[in-house]
């Protein structure tokens, strides 16, 4: 096993995975939906660091997916309180944490149609820590008010809700979500980005502490774990991603340089 050379830079995907791994924290079970390579990287990274905890279910994987009772088992499992962390995204996300996976414009004849709400209309309510993840941070994606609420960020107190958003991670920054105040708060700015840029590129209001810091870069141990232990596991489910980001082909660690 070759150690990562210290001069090897980290790429954006590695930074985001590292940020998300920190957000996952010490939990029992993280589930990752389809087409989510960066959250999957983060979950596997958290597992490597935790010596096998949390248990990670990659829904697209044969190997990292224990479900044997059909697709409903994921939702039943969440309903049982056995999924602690899940990831959601949105074609639009607004400042109240509402997410839109359906359409822009009129519902019956929209100007833009997204694939659909998937499990969000349920999982957003019952998974304690939902981490919102949207790489593209722009006024197009982060809007004042979503056109269609696939799932709301918060619910009135009398509505059964054991889960909801805890954070939103983009290519520019990480927000935390304050459920009581129903608002995002800028938590850290990724290296190379600025608070001013984030204000300019965000379509919704958010809390912006005066002392907001820079997102910590992944340390050498984190990068080594990701590249040497996580990347080969990822290659089963996200071969293109594993190759592009980590230079992994055919499930084997790569020897060639990784472009950052």
């Amino acid at each position: 096993m070759h150690a990562a050379p210290p001069e090897r830079p980290f790429c954006e995907e590695e930074l985001l995975a590292s940020v998300i791994a920190d957000l996952i924290g010490d939990v029992r079970h993280v589930a990752v939906g389809n087409a989510s390579p960066i959250p999957a990287t983060a979950a596997l990274l958290a597992r490597e660091r935790g010596g096998g905890r949390p248990y990670v279910s990659l829904l697209q994987s044969r190997k990292h997916n224990f479900f044997t009772s059909g697709g409903v088992e994921l939702f039943d499992c969440a309903g049982q309180g056995r999924i602690d962390v899940f990831f959601l995204s949105g074609g639009q996300i607004d400042g109240q944490g509402n997410i839109n996976l359906v359409n822009i414009g009129e519902h019956d004849k929209p100007s833009v149609r997204f694939p659909g709400s998937f499990g969000s209309g349920y999982l957003y309510y019952v998974v304690p820590k939902v981490i919102l993840f949207r790489v593209e941070h722009s006024r197009r994606t982060l809007v004042p008010k979503v056109d269609f609420i696939s799932a709301p960020g918060t619910s009135p107190d009398h509505v059964h809700r054991t889960g909801g958003p805890v954070a939103l991670v983009t290519n520019r920054c990480a927000f935390s979500f304050d459920r009581a105040r129903r608002r995002f708060r800028l938590q850290s700015v990724h290296p190379g980005h600025s608070v001013e840029e984030i204000i300019a590129e965000t379509g919704f209001d958010f809390d912006c502490p005066s002392d907001v810091g820079e997102t910590p870069a992944p340390d050498a141990a984190t990068l080594q774990t990701m590249r040497e232990r996580v990347a080969p596991e990822l290659a089963e489910v996200y071969p293109r991603f594993a190759e592009r980001v980590f230079g992994i082909a055919c499930g084997k660690p790569a020897s060639r340089a990784v472009s950052a």
Partner: protein, 271 residues
């Protein structure tokens, strides 16, 4: 109970206007049967996907077979948005009943259990609710001031899917893909395509029986080798990525989609 029949014959129960339920990509999608339905020009389907769909819904929509689509999502996954679904939606020519995954499971499980509705957490305050007057909110009688949504049963006329194998009694080995059992239990009729026929009784061996849908629920079985192509069949073959990329390229325009149908759907009839 099931008879082994030629594909077109097996599909005869899928009539214009019927409520057709199909599984998600990973469970085993009857793509060869889908092409046969398009060749037959089935019309006005109410298509329910358990709970999502990819190429199957996109092809049926593009070919004009679908009047109403009930789904939690149609997407080509890593290949991007489903082109004909997206085009039909933005043109306003397709009615959708947008759902969230567990709502479709719950509604089909209600049919499976012979109950008129199933409760589900979540949903309250979403625009999914706003567009579904048949999803009712009641007060949970076991708590104070606790609203919960009830979903009426979905009872498909026909369930259609693809599986690795069936025996001569119509028992179908579905393995871990238990969504397929839910579909068959919920639907009035079930049509299955399989890769191969299994000689012997799938129910006789306890290990195989654990993953077997009894033929009792199956109305027709047709053999269709590589019947999920170009989609994957779990544990058997992967998706044909090159073909799906080609589909994405062609289906980006109505003309390209028409050529795709000509080359890969209609031309196969003669083959």
């Amino acid at each position: 109970m099931a008879a082994i029949r030629p594909l077109d014959d097996a599909l005869s129960a899928i009539e214009d206007g019927c409520l057709l339920a199909v599984p998600r990509e990973v469970s085993g999608v009857a793509m060869e049967a889908t092409r046969a339905l398009i060749r037959r020009a089935v019309r006005r389907l109410h298509l329910v996907t358990l709970p999502t769909s990819s190429l199957q819904a996109d092809l049926l929509i593009g070919a004009g077979c679908v009047e109403t689509l009930e789904t939690s999502a149609v997407s080509m996954g890593e290949f991007g948005p489903a082109p004909r679904f997206t085009a039909a939606m933005t043109a306003g020519t397709l009615k959708t009943r947008d759902a969230t995954c567990p709502a479709i499971y719950a509604a089909l499980q209600a049919a499976e259990k012979g109950i008129p509705f199933m409760p589900l957490r979540g949903l309250i305050g979403s625009d999914l609710m706003a567009h579904r007057s048949e999803w009712r909110t009641i007060d949970n009688p076991y708590a104070n001031g606790d609203p919960i949504v009830l979903l009426p049963a979905i009872k498909p006329d026909v369930a259609l899917f693809h599986a690795p194998m069936a025996d001569r009694d119509g028992n179908v080995w579905i393995g871990r893909q238990r969504d397929l059992a839910t579909l068959a239990h919920a639907a009035a009729r079930t049509i299955v395509t399989v890769e191969t026929l299994h000689e012997g009784d799938l129910l006789a061996d306890p290990t195989l029986a654990a993953g077997t849908l009894p033929g009792f629920y199956v109305d027709a079985v047709a053999v269709a080798e590589r019947g999920a192509w170009p989609l994957p069949l779990p544990d058997r073959y992967p998706a044909d990525g090159a073909h799906l990329a080609e589909y994405m390229k062609r289906a980006a325009t109505p003309e390209g989609f028409a050529r795709y149908l000509q080359d890969f759907v209609h031309a196969r009839r003669a083959a």
